[in-house]
């Protein structure tokens, strides 16, 4: 078994997780046109909700996962209603929204650390079977396979919603021109609320998956967020398909980069890619929308 197939397998798994974070981020960006930095912390909320319900309270796993996804969605929704919506109504600048979301991020991260301590936790417990699958020379675990399949399903569903449903078209309308969208009778704020819920729920799912795959830490939200943002920018910010493309590109670049240099440089590699794209192709591979 060569090392290259294994690196490819790892890259795809990493790409799938980044893609989920980038999807939610892009969805929210499309509708509101600002960088929601709280998105990373919202993702961690999902992971810790499952940790609390499943590992600490002993509820069935599927209930815990549903609660985790809904919990993240709810937190995102609440943030929109109590923080971002009032700011947008006042026509606050992007800077104000970014700083506010940074504040929200800091609060959520710290509250999670207070409730669950800042120690490293894992959702995976010994009773779960660790089946290994060999695909094309690379080995992936059962959890990783589930991550991959779920991520693909979510991406497909979102693409379908975007292209085929009224909801998707209305969101596109808002992102093209919010004022016109309102004039033609779209209830933009209600819709943006839903977008926040969906985007945050997807991020929450990503947080849960990471909890099973590698483990949870309250501070992981920042690096997760950054991977999502970088994927989004590399692919084309606000572009749903671009975000997925960027996520896999980032996954590959990171894993091959780590193979060549060393594991500790992972974040630096990701940001080097970001800065490279910001300089030479700020619109991303596919461009906006």
């Amino acid at each position: 078994m060569g090392i290259i197939p294994q690196i490819i397998a790892n890259s795809i798994i990493a790409g799938a997780i980044y893609a989920l974070v980038a999807l939610g981020f892009n969805l929210i960006y499309r509708a509101t046109n600002f960088f929601n930095l709280a998105h990373g912390a919202v993702s961690v909320v999902g992971g810790y909700t499952v940790f609390g319900l499943y590992r600490l309270l002993g509820l069935p796993l599927w209930i815990a996962i549903i609660c985790g996804v809904l919990g993240s969605g709810l937190v995102g929704y609440i943030l929109e209603k109590i923080l971002f919506l009032p700011l947008r109504k006042r026509k606050s600048s992007q800077m104000v929204l970014i700083v506010a979301s940074l504040g929200a991020f800091t609060i959520i991260q710290a509250v999670i650390a207070i409730i669950f301590s800042s120690q490293f936790q894992t959702l995976f417990d010994s009773s779960m079977e660790t089946k290994l699958y060999q695909i094309g020379g690379g080995i992936i675990t059962q959890v990783q396979l589930i991550i991959l399949i779920a991520a693909l399903l979510i991406m497909g569903t979102l693409a379908w919603i975007k292209e085929r449903t009224m909801f998707g078209k209305m969101v596109s309308a808002i992102s093209d021109d919010a004022v016109v969208a309102r004039i033609v009778g779209i209830n933009t704020n209600k819709l943006i609320g839903r977008v926040f819920f969906i985007g945050s729920a997807i991020a929450g799912f990503a947080g849960i998956m990471i909890g099973f795959d590698t483990g949870l830490e309250p501070t992981m939200g920042m690096s997760l967020l950054m991977k999502g943002v970088i994927a989004a920018i590399v692919g084309g910010v606000g572009n749903i398909y671009g975000g997925v493309l960027g996520a896999f590109l980032l996954g590959f670049a990171e894993n091959f980069g780590v193979w060549q240099v060393s594991g500790e440089w992972k974040d630096a590699i990701a940001f080097a890619i970001l800065i490279f794209f910001l300089i030479f192709r700020p619109k991303g591979i596919l461009g906006k929308k």
Partner: protein, 289 residues
Amino acid sequence: MEYIIHLIILFGIYGILALSLDLIVGFTGLLSLSHAAFYGIGAYAVAVLSTTYGINFFVAALIGMSVAAVVALMIGFVLRKFKDDYYALASFGFNVIAVSIFLNWESITKGPLGIPGIKRPELFGFVFSTNTLYMILTLALFALTALFVWHITKSSFGRVLRAIREDEKALEVFGYRITRYKLAIYVISGALAALAGALYASYITYVDPSTFTANESIVILSMIILGGLASLRGAIIGAAILIALPEALRFVGLPMDVAAQLRQVIYGLILALLMLYRPKGMYGEYEMK
């Protein structure tokens, strides 16, 4: 009494950081999240030069400031075209890369272990050995910084910076070379942050990468946003409040870990609530656009 002196020293260090960051964020209108990187460069310069090579603190601090200035020149060059969210993100990226270098360049920085045993400053045989003496040194350098920053903001150079913030395009029409101004202020600000880092390293006598993460950049940003952007009084008072406020938590008798997280909650709340109710901060002369 020792404790009050400790707080005053911290105030002096953060006062320098806040004043220098305000030059970029408040006066020039660029949302920089890279300040802790320069803070770290100054601290590591003193740590490495004084422990390994036995170089005098003041010489080491000057070298650190020069290194920070050169690095700022390079980063500033990359950042010159960005604005708002992209500026925030890219500068954040540089902070992450800087921390990766502190962590991984082990032959110089000793990696995550950090560098202990940094000596107190010495000037012509006179050692700033006690905390009281160190406080006087810190306050003197803080006062010098404040004076220097005040001069910048009152000069024609400072007026150009404010004009960049208000209307970059118009200024360009008048023939100002905006990039040079932006680079100049970024270099000055970075060198001042390195001075604060030098003071920190020599005071705590130990440095490690965790002190200079992007989170620290956010803390410094909170200080100037609380005090009010583009106001020197605001930066100083903001730094004082954010140093003093969390200390009050110490007396409530919470466990260390919880107290540290509560601090973060306070920072986050300050950012979010200020954005909602008073984006100008306490004495702000400039509201983020």
